[in-house]
């Protein structure tokens, strides 16, 4: 039993990390008051851009290409999310529809471009992050083998982002104003805060983080772009709700989902698990998500103005 758990843990963490990054993106966006359903599409964009960057630059840059790929993915996600921000903030479009449009454009556009590049619609990379054991820390009993072995660079990057996010949103001026925009934009407006600018910031940050998330998938366990991230963007949204829009809660929720999803993925390798029918394992994360939503949707504390269109001058 312990063997299975310690075997799975590193994979679970690797799976959790992109979810966490995307969910943090959703966190910034929704805290500012904008629902971002387009996380899925933004992850695909990040995935694609990172794949292209790495495959093109790998011969000349080697390992550096991966880091550049991550940066480009975040930049691409940020740029693409501008579409969503413009539509839902400046044009007051329905945020759910705008986000869905982003998803559709992202998946169609990336496959279209991929096909022109490789002919098959997939982009394979042969260079990714290599899992490593953190020196010293991996020797700690219990936690060592669980958390500090076979970890990826992106894991630590995203955890750092988590800490920074918590600090920024709860301790800084920017964070106070951001949260005000998500709770009661009229108050923020009357206090002289530019609600539009804050919400743009929230959405753009979510785009960058979602792009990063998509790239993280690529360089850790996926290895190729194939047009989809299998619903992970939506899982991230569910994690946001499950985590009650708080960073620590999101960490817990994403890890829970990560663990559930990993069970399915590693079932072939683990003899005890391969006895469970494939359907159950594969559907498990999605069923669990629904159950989590059922349990937690009634008592959630979404930012009060989340999803509401804000028009200055409306009393």
């Amino acid at each position: 039993m312990w063997d299975i758990v310690s075997h799975i843990f590193p994979y679970a963490i690797a799976f959790t990390v992109p979810l966490l990054a995307a969910a943090l993106g959703g966190f910034f966006s929704e805290r500012s008051g904008v629902v971002n359903i387009g996380l899925e599409g933004l992850m695909v964009i990040g995935n694609f851009v990172c794949a292209v960057t790495i495959s093109k630059l790998q011969p000349s840059m080697g390992q550096g290409a991966i880091w550049l790929g991550l940066a480009m993915a975040a930049a691409a996600g940020l740029a693409f999310s501008l579409l969503h921000a413009f539509a839902s903030i400046s044009l007051c479009a329905n945020q759910v529809i705008s986000g869905t449009a982003i998803n559709m454009v992202a998946s169609a556009l990336t496959v279209f471009l991929a096909r022109t590049m490789t002919g098959s619609g997939n982009v394979r990379i042969t260079l990714g992050f290599v899992p490593f054991d953190v020196p010293v820390l991996c020797k700690i009993p219990v936690i060592g083998p669980l958390v500090f072995t076979k970890s990826y660079a992106t894991t630590w990057l995203v955890l750092a982002i988590l800490a920074i996010s918590w600090f920024v949103v709860y301790k800084t001026r920017f964070g106070l104003r951001l949260r005000a925009c998500g709770e009661h934009p009229q108050t923020a407006d009357a206090a002289g805060v530019n609600v539009y600018r804050m919400r743009y910031a929230g959405v753009l940050i979510s785009g960058a983080l979602a792009g990063l998330a998509g790239a993280a998938i690529l360089v850790t366990f996926s290895g190729e772009f194939n047009g989809t991230v299998a619903g992970l963007g939506f899982l991230a949204m569910a994690a946001l709700i499950f985590g009650n829009w708080k960073p620590l809660g999101i960490l817990g929720a994403t890890f829970f989902f990560g663990f559930a999803a990993t069970l399915a993925n590693v079932s072939q390798v683990v003899p005890e698990l391969s006895k469970i029918p494939g359907l159950v394992l594969k559907a498990f994360p999605y069923v669990v998500t629904i159950l989590a939503l059922v349990l937690f949707s009634k008592t959630t504390q979404a930012p009060k103005a989340d999803g509401e269109i804000y028009e200055a001058g409306k009393r």
Binding site: T100, A101, V105, G121
Partner: protein
């Protein structure tokens, strides 16, 4: 006036989407005029192609109606793909297991598909009504559950030779009929086209002329007022998504045992997502949905031809559709433009 404004907005979105498509074609070094010419000819050039366009439009009309209905009642259900899969699965299973004369067969299949889809829609509706679960996330989760269900059930019990698809549907279980197929010279057209038309009419009647429609729209516009009026809001929500699911389930039947001759696994039907575009473009009205579905039918039918003749990847069709939705979503810009033009027109008179 509202109809005219919706039409204007739709046309504006379409034109902008096509323009964006043209830009993309240029970007990869192709000739947009040539590309579009083959794209549209591919859908309309001869009677066979028209048949294919109609067949594609059939499924899109039904999923579009499903979306429009849900949207009208205030629910952002994105569950059409999963509901299609369940409807199609049930249709395929019955088609391969039961043997009845054709008309009985088709009745059973269509009803069963509608029931399956309706259940798959009722679940998120109920979860929303009872537990306030956000229907966007729950419907997407159910999409994936349906996807994996098909993935495992078909190869386990219903395959023929290939691991990735079901056995071929026998003729007595298929929606294709000889006289239609002959009329359209061997295209994919099937009886589903009539189902789609009937469905559009029925939905239109429900929405505009019935007590049920009044209640559903009221809930969609203003839940609080509907509650005040004595309307049972939770039940209406669940019912609405149930009806929407039935439509999508029916769409699944028309696709998997109508358009196609078997069911493939590992594919999330794109008509589910395209349905959002169809509904938006059609301004959530049944007539609009039919027209939008026909337009998209042309795009889908034509993209293969365009690819063959010019090498432009067929995904451009999907990209154009997605961009159209984006513009339809930002339609506020167009409605303002429309109002502005109308005011200027009036002043000039």
């Amino acid at each position: 006036m509202k109809g005219l404004r919706d039409l204007f907005t739709a046309l504006a979105a379409v034109i902008l989407g096509l323009l964006a498509g043209a830009v993309l074609m240029l970007a990869i070094g192709a000739n947009p005029l040539e590309g579009f010419s083959y794209l549209f000819r591919g859908g309309l050039m001869n009677i066979e192609r028209i048949g294919n366009t109609l067949a594609t439009a059939t499924t899109l009309t039904l999923t579009g109606l499903a979306m429009a209905f849900a949207f009208r009642t205030g629910l952002f259900s994105i569950g059409a793909p999963g509901q299609m899969l369940m409807g199609g699965l049930v249709a395929t299973v019955i088609g391969l297991s039961l043997h009845l004369p054709k008309w009985e067969m088709l009745t059973v299949i269509l009803l069963a598909a509608m029931i399956a889809g309706s259940i798959w829609g009722f679940i998120p509706g109920y979860l929303k009504a009872r537990f306030n679960v956000h229907e966007v996330v729950s419907t997407i989760m159910l999409n994936w559950i349906a996807y994996w269900t098909v993935y495992y059930v078909i190869p386990a019990h219903f395959k023929a030779n290939l691991e990735t698809e079901s056995a071929r549907i026998p003729d007595y279980a298929s929606l294709k009929v000889p006289w239609l197929t002959e009329m359209f010279k061997g295209s994919f057209i099937n009886l589903g086209v009539f189902a789609a038309i009937v469905a559009a009419v029925v939905i239109s009647i429900i929405l505009n002329k019935t007590v049920l429609g009044y209640e559903l729209k009221a809930v969609g516009f203003n839940r609080t007022a509907a509650e005040f009026a004595g309307i049972n809001v939770p039940m209406n929500m669940a019912l609405s998504l149930g009806i929407s699911g039935a439509l999508a389930g029916l769409a699944g039947a028309t696709f998997y045992v109508g358009y196609a001759v078997n069911m493939q696994i590992g594919v999330m039907p794109s008509q589910g997502m395209d349905a959002i575009a169809v509904a938006l473009l059609g301004a959530n009205s049944p007539l609009g949905v039919v027209l939008a579905a026909l337009f998209f039918g042309v795009l889908h039918s034509g993209k293969g031809f365009m690819n063959a003749m010019t090498g432009i990847p067929p995904e451009i069709g999907d990209t154009i559709i997605a961009i159209i939705i984006y513009f339809a979503a930002t339609s506020v810009l167009f409605t303002r433009l429309f109002d502005g033009l109308r005011a200027r027109f009036r002043r000039g008179q």
